[in-house]
């Protein structure tokens, strides 16, 4: 393992910031969820690299990453179901136009 830990951390930070930019700048609700996926992946890279570099015998990092996988899958399933449901009623997936609860 000749790659320093800091390389992984900086890569994950860059991926997180790209995802953050996508979440904040996109109009389409599906594109916002794509950005959230990138952010979750950045977190997972961090967890797994800490597991490998600190103490591989302790499985905490990998176990946490598995749970992040499950939560990400649940988040995408519910999020896309909501978007499809909204699209069926309002004929739009633009986040700005879904303002029924805004007063």
């Amino acid at each position: 393992m000749s790659v320093p830990l800091s390389w992984y951390l900086i890569l994950a930070a860059a991926l997180f910031c790209i995802g953050l930019y996508g979440v904040l700048s996109r109009k389409n609700a599906i594109a916002i969820l794509l950005g959230v996926e990138l952010m979750l992946n950045a977190v997972n890279v961090n967890l797994v690299s800490f597991w490998r570099y600190l103490d591989p015998a302790q499985m905490a990092g990998q176990a946490f990453a598995v749970i992040v996988f499950a939560v990400a899958a649940a988040e995408v399933a519910v999020g896309l179901a909501l978007i499809i449901s909204v699209y069926r009623r309002r004929k739009t997936v633009v986040a700005d136009e879904i303002d029924l609860m805004k007063w």
């Binding site: 790659v3 800091s6 992984y8 900086i10 594109a31 009623r89």
Partner: protein
């Protein structure tokens, strides 16, 4: 430079480049396909980190299920949005600036931590990480409770997703 460093740099460039394409490309279907490339790059990173199980799960769950779900959703909702207008907000430079500032802050913070430039020790001999992870996930003195909570959450979310997606239909 060792071979591992070169592979890491190439994979990192792949992940970040396709990640940038995900957030900037106009056609959402292409964005979803770029997400597949990015997720595959992360799977390669897991393989380099010797997290074998997670590398496989990344391909099966993320690329096989989540990315396909995105492609379905894009295809079910596309039509008008694709053709007209821009895909990003008019003040897109504020999130870009915010992202760059946070990245700069994180890089400074990471590099200031002592010992962060150390490379990893070799894996302990005889440690089977897949077996160790499996044992940890079901052993009562490790992570069986979070694991079960995650599975209940998953079940509830999928039932809820089916209900929400079909509730509006007449």
């Amino acid at each position: 430079m060792t071979a591992e460093q070169i592979i890491f740099l190439l994979t990192g460039a792949l992940v970040l480049g396709s990640g940038l394409m995900v957030v900037t490309v106009r056609n959402l279907l292409h964005a979803a396909l770029w997400l597949v490339v990015s997720l595959f790059g992360v799977a390669i990173l897991y393989a380099i980190l010797q997290a074998n199980f997670l590398a496989v799960v990344q391909v099966v769950v993320y690329i096989g299920a989540i990315a396909i779900l995105f492609i379905f959703a894009v295809m079910l909702t596309r039509r008008e949005l694709m053709e007209k207008g821009r895909q990003t907000r008019s003040n897109w430079w504020i999130p870009a600036l915010l992202g760059l500032l946070i990245l700069a802050g994180l890089v400074v913070l990471i590099l200031s931590v002592p010992g962060v430039n150390h490379t990893a020790a070799a894996m302990p001999a005889g440690l089977d990480t897949v077996q160790a992870l499996g044992t940890a996930l079901v052993s009562p003195d490790a992570y069986v409770l979070p694991f079960e909570v995650a599975s209940v959450l998953m079940l509830a979310a999928l039932v809820g997703a089916v209900y929400v997606a079909t509730a509006g239909k007449k």
